[in-house]
Amino acid sequence: MLSPESLKKIDHEIAKYPIDKKQSAVMSALAIAQDEKGWLANETMNFVAKYLGMPPIAVYEVATFYNMYNLEPLGEYKITVCTNLPCALSGGNDVANYVKKKLSIGFNQTTADGKFTLKEGECMGACGDAPVLLVNNKRMCSFMTNDMIDQLLEELSK
């Protein structure tokens, strides 16, 4: 179900917790599974549940509680723009609008070519670098200007 590399990473996470507390690794296991699969299909969650000895619904609770899990297939790149107040004061909304215009999509939409999905994000703990956006949960882009967005989209479109 998951690749040996992913399983190795999950095992590394499991080792951080007491032996009878495997469930503690569920957040990282889901993140690792999502990195491999792009999103969390029911089978994937079921697999993680079995792997960690949890009821599948408990895995589902976790997957739906935390924002960064994708419960449906998204574009190849998920772009999350922070529009919370501190970012908004420094152009967060302008960035969001610019990306919307460039990609001709709104929040929670995916481009026709399946390349990009746009999301509105909450505070990323990087307000000093506003405006900020996040690519696929892991790559943070700071002090975004329109030029930088052009560059970024171009790079990702390749």
Binding site: K21, L30, N67, P86, L89, M140
Partner: protein
């Protein structure tokens, strides 16, 4: 420009990609605090005493005296105890812990080692906000370095003290910053806060005694041990010891983190942050993160940056996030965005917060969109009143306080919105 003593970022060069590494931390006399403790056989109780003397107060938001908190951990407890670092910085406006972790991660690790020593703890977790992934990776590397150098693991530096530290990442839930939600999250569950009592010191991670502190709190400890609690206290003001990182965001020229002594005037901080962007007028400031009451600019300019002074001015120091808003800011819109945040981030378990945050947001949203009624202002105040103090955790308060303060200080602007169905600014 004024130069202050730094305790957290002293000597840190964030432009140098390798400056965070252990060897460089060691050059800044890193890990000498724990060495001092172990080689001088300073007792755990003396460590806690020193922290008490320093008047270090929790940097996560509530400002609880750290030494006192540490003394709550049961001493004679058989079985596991834990310390947990709260690096789930997600309070809008706050971005200080990220800088500590990415530019000076070993100071946090050393702080946690000392805390573990003081409380007789063998295992610690550092819970890192999900969105700052590279910081999580940096911490993983730093922990590995520390382990390799013998600062983490069994028999640290040849002593009989052992401590292991692990990083746990979040994945997008502000509520996990609340300490008991964070524990639930480490346990692999939804981050839903627990009812207190029992408090974590008795029933924490996996039901074991646990102490939770903010990243900055732990990171403040090595300096205290090296230089003495009294010295630290003297950097700041009585009851408000030491220096503090303030995250300045919004309408300033140089947003960023500034480490200043407690009690430094707000005006000085504003100046350090390059002053108002475009020379505009300061209209309002949220001095302690988005959960805290907003204060009008005039009041702010008279206030010093420490717990007691800001409380006197009618707000709270909170996490030290200073959100600056100039005269062009629409306060209704600002509140709408904040209310949306709490509505989105409510964990959903307790009734007043689950139902009330949505209600608040929808009314403010209506007002912002020209569909407000005059009664709405009292209604907002009353709903906020019905949320505040009635919820399991303080997110309810955090959602209510900004609403009440905004209406208190900027009522005219709300009335204008309702009457003219448009913005005043």
């Amino acid at each position: 420009m004024t130069q202050f003593t730094q305790t957290l970022l002293a000597g840190v060069d964030s432009s140098d990609a390798e400056n965070w590494q252990l060897k460089n931390y060691a050059r800044r006399s890193g890990y000498s605090a724990i060495r001092k403790i172990l080689s001088n056989k300073i007792s755990p109780d003396s460590v806690i005493e020193e922290v008490k003397k320093s008047a270090l107060r929790g940097r996560g938001g509530a400002g609880f005296p750290t030494g006192l908190k540490w003394s709550f951990m049961p001493k004679q407890y058989e079985g596991d105890k834990y310390i947990v670092c709260n690096s789930d910085e997600g309070e809008p406006g706050t971005f200080k812990d990220r800088d500590i972790m990415r530019h000076n991660p070993h100071i946090l690790i050393e702080g946690m080692i000392i805390a573990a020593y003081a409380m007789g703890v063998k295992v610690g977790y550092n819970y890192i906000h999900g969105e700052i992934w590279d910081t999580y990776e940096r911490m993983e590397e730093a922990v590995e370095e520390a382990r390799a150098a013998g600062y983490l693991g069994n028999n640290i530096l040849g002593s009989n003290f052992s401590f292991n530290l692990y990083n746990h990442h979040g994945y997008g839930a502000y509520i996990c910053g609340e300490e008991t939600a964070l524990l639930e999250s480490i346990e692999g569950k939804k981050g839903q806060p627990r009812f207190k009592p029992p408090f974590p010191a008795n029933y924490g991670l996996y039901g074991k005694p646990t102490t939770i502190n903010n990243t900055e709190t732990f990171a403040s400890v090595p300096w205290i041990i090296l230089n003495g609690g009294e010295q630290y206290l003297k950097l700041g003001k009585p009851n408000n010891g030491g220096t503090k990182l303030f995250s300045v965001s919004g309408h300033v020229n140089k947003p960023g983190n500034y480490e200043i002594p407690m009690g430094t005037p707000f005006a000085t901080l504003l100046e350090m942050a390059g002053g108002m962007r475009g020379g505009k007028k300061l209209k309002a400031c949220i001095p302690g993160g988005s959960s805290m009451p907003v204060l009008p600019g005039e009041i702010m300019m008279q206030t010093d940056m420490d717990y007691d002074s800001i409380a006197k001015a009618g707000s709270m120091l909170g996490s030290g996030a200073v959100i600056i808003m100039d005269e062009t800011t629409c306060m209704v819109k600002a509140l709408e965005r904040l209310s949306y945040f709490y509505f989105e981030e409510s964990c959903g378990q307790c009734t007043p917060c689950r139902e009330g945050t949505g209600w608040l947001y929808r009314i403010v949203n209506r007002i912002e969109h020209g569909k407000g009624l005059m009664e709405d202002l009292d209604l907002l105040d009353n709903i906020a009143d019905n949320i505040q103090g009635r919820t399991i955790c303080a997110l309810g308060d955090a959602a209510a306080m900004p609403v009440r303060a905004m209406i208190q200080h900027f009522r005219n602007e709300f009335i204008y919105h309702i009457e003219h169905k448009k913005c005043m600014v």
